[in-house]
Symmetry: C2
Subunit: 337 residues, 2 copies
């Protein structure tokens, strides 16, 4: 039985979509037990609307909620009875294997490090969302709070990302690349130039060299390594350009009567195609390298993404990702000693 704590109060659609996602997950998967963390009364009212195996969902009361605009460090320290702090403490104590939240990114990143804690040997835990590409998805690692990273951090990100893509997403021998401003080895800033030769030496990953940002949406690599500032820019620009273009296409279709008729005919096929450019079917972004697992889902997650994030935790646990990460990092340390 895999136990997943879920932040019932986090995100724009809490608690209704979160509870619906938890119900969908237990209805799909017999081996999962969900601990819904939040205000008991609100959560139970939502639960009453659904049918599900009662022994697979349990409510854990938490009286407070951390809002997205609160300074994270302060929020984690002060709101001891918030759904995020209570949920992460369940992972820390071993009462849950993983924690899923659509709440404050900052609080989740801080709480992951401070409450759940890093695995032995992990220098920094990266946040690693899946981003859509023409060919499927790629793992963008790191988009978290680790700005001004060092080369050794990026090497660990490459190893952890590679294990995740292979065993959770199911990509055999995933291609690992580092984000760069040219394809040649001599290109890049100081961080990339120092990291590149270290990645080349890693015999346990399939390092394919540099990747220019232009190639990311084409699916040029499976694991895209970068430091968090660049990762954050990539993730948010992806969303921004996507939203703008789709908006403009829609607007263009509404321009004349002729195009409006065309839009009606085109709509179903287009919807299907663009659906494949949506990574939420794979679940949320894991914060890797922790003693347990913390998954951050989009703030506007609907039940499907919540459900997929819970199932992703099951795969993560079943595939013993943390054990594999620790083994990989320990082997790397031994080789370099």
């Amino acid at each position: 039985m895999i136990k997943v704590a879920v932040d019932a109060m986090g995100g724009d659609n809490a608690p209704s979509e979160i509870v619906a996602g938890a119900v969908a997950a237990v209805n799909k998967e017999k081996t999962v037990h969900v601990l819904l963390v939040g205000r008991r009364e609100n959560v139970e009212r939502e639960l009453a609307k659904h049918t599900y195996p009662k022994d697979q969902i349990q409510v854990v009361h938490a009286s407070e909620v951390i809002e997205t605009e609160e300074p994270p460090v302060n929020a984690i320290r002060k709101k001891k009875d918030s759904s995020i702090v209570v949920g992460m403490n369940l992972v820390k104590s071993g009462e849950a294997d993983a924690f899923v939240s659509a709440g404050s990114s900052g609080a989740i990143l801080v709480g992951g490090q401070v409450i759940v804690g890093r695995l032995k040997g992990v220098e920094r835990p990266p946040l690693a969302p899946l981003i859509p590409t023409e060919k499927g998805v790629s793992l963008l690692i790191d988009c978290g709070a680790n700005v001004d990273a060092r080369p050794s951090h990026l090497v660990q990100f490459a190893r952890m990302g590679s294990i995740y893509m292979e065993h959770v997403v199911g990509i055999r021998n995933p291609r690992v690349a580092i984000v760069n401003i040219g394809a040649e080895e001599e290109k890049g800033n100081a961080l990339v130039k120092e990291t590149f030769p270290l990645l080349k030496e890693c015999r346990d990953i399939n390092f394919v060299g540099s990747i220019e940002a232009r190639e990311i949406p084409h699916g040029g690599a499976d694991v895209i390594v970068c430091e968090a500032f660049v990762g954050n820019v990539i993730l948010k620009l992806y969303e921004g350009v996507g939203a703008t273009l789709i908006g403009m296409v829609k607007q263009g279709m509404m321009a004349s009567l002729r195009s409006k008729i065309g839009a009606l005919l085109v709509k179903p096929a287009l919807k299907q195609t663009l659906k494949s450019f949506d990574a939420s079917q794979y679940g949320g972004a894991p914060l890797l390298g922790l003693k347990g697992l913390v998954v951050k889902t989009h703030g506007n997650s609907k039940s499907t993404e919540v459900c997929n994030s819970i199932l992703q935790c099951v795969t993560f646990r079943e595939q013993k990702i943390n054990e594999k990460v620790q083994e990989s990092l320990a082997n790397a340390t031994n080789r370099s000693n």
Copy 2:
């Protein structure tokens, strides 16, 4: 009379589209004189296909061509008779006011600094392309070779970018923002945290604070300040996500007979809308802060972009941008002393 040297041999469509662009420019603008730099025989053969005022175009022979894959520093040093080196020397000697090239980015960046040289007081010359947004265009500064920039460089980029947007593109009191991973002042990496208060102190620019990458395509600021690594990632991801999405939309429209008919009806309106998401109508990317002007146009530029790049040089000269840049930087230095 404003004299613009144009690299007739640079880019995928040289010399035909380059020559056609030069012809279009002189037919549009009486005050411009174009010096077409390249293999005389090839250039004259192209010119013979067009009608134009003969006294406004002159061919300057250059026997060599720098290929895009050549290491830039070496190419600039060795190929003294290449179109890029000859063209830049025309600017250096004052025989031309500006140089436009669709050739090797690396060689243009190196040549601009080494041959044309920096304006007094400019620490690093930034490459500043215009990128399309929902509302028009924004200037992304820097996308050049200045990786690992210092805060003082970014402050100069903000000033130069602001002058360019106001006087060349015609945006009054342009909003200047720094690329960041959150809207709050305390967010960011070391470079951004150091630069932010310096920009706040600049009373000669309209600094509006941080911009998250998501807001860039929505037109959240007119001048987007960042160091070159991040700028390069933004520029190339813009192109990549755009190309991928447009490709998927087209593919989706070809999915069924129904959608194919719809596509025919939608096409003209859609084309018109997406055209507004194309910055090439504004010309190429200026390399700012040089004694003269160097403009890099896309490698796949057609005649329209070449023509617009030449006209952009006219505005640049007429508006005395370099004089304004020097005055602005000198004033800033005086204030801080």
